[in-house]
Symmetry: C2
Subunit: 116 residues, 2 copies
DNA sequence: TGTTTGTTCTAGTTTCCCTAGAACAACTAG
DNA sequence: CTAGTTGTTCTAGGGAAACTAGAACAAACA
């Protein structure tokens, strides 16, 4: 369900957060849907329970999931945004960057600056 | 010349790398131009010399600067790329994201995914 | 009532970042 | 050729963050 790369320089919990964030915003994770139990997902990813729980808590802080004991982590309803035009813009950035053979870090720096 | 925020969650050396990267790609740092000496910049930013040198070495690894003892860090000639269309695309992404009130992390996740 | 699931606590290891000082080698300037 | 500048390399240590581990606990569920 989720993929984790122990070799990546991004922290494990952050990778998980990104994946869920992506799933929600892409509609792969529907509102009301329940994420795997922390202990279960931890074993599947070969990671400690606390690492998964830290990711879940971060997602709760961002308002993406509802986190309650006994119930688990449930995907919250995002404000029904239409992402088609944003996705088109993102794809165009990726295409331009690829055409210029720019390293990903440079592009990300540009985007980060534009979002500031 | 450069700004560093000790409170930011991004490492100091990474902040410096980003700023130089941005300067080069934006044309504020011209090819052949020399960056400040490490010890000098370190004192100006109130940071250790090794921190600045780590940033410089990373920039060398990315091919952005030429680093030699006695000579300093000289900005390499980028492959004369035209960034106008990319900048336009980036600005559009930022505008769309702002309109949707999406958190920056989500947008960056989307871009990172698109660049993969 | 028993199970599931998140919450909280302590604790230890590892890794990364940053600082600090020193000696050294390549290059520049005079 | 000499002296100063600048990056390179080395050792060293402090501090924070990430990850792991185990345990007890509380809320919700079946």
């Amino acid at each position: 369900m989720f993929r984790i790369d122990p070799q990546a320089d991004e922290p494990l919990f952050a990778q998980l957060v990104s994946q869920v964030r992506l799933g929600v915003v892409q509609g792969r994770l529907a509102p009301g849907e329940r994420l795997p139990a922390a202990r279960e997902l931890a074993e599947a990813l070969d990671v400690n329970v606390h690492t998964v729980l830290r990711a879940y808590q971060e997602l709760r802080d961002e308002g993406l999931v509802d986190l309650r004991r006994g119930r688990g982590a449930v995907v919250m309803a995002p404000a029904a945004v239409d992402l088609t035009s944003l996705r088109a813009a993102v794809d165009r950035v990726a295409a331009e960057a690829r055409a210029l053979a720019l390293p990903p870090e440079t592009v990300l720096t540009l985007v980060k600056e534009a979002l500031r």
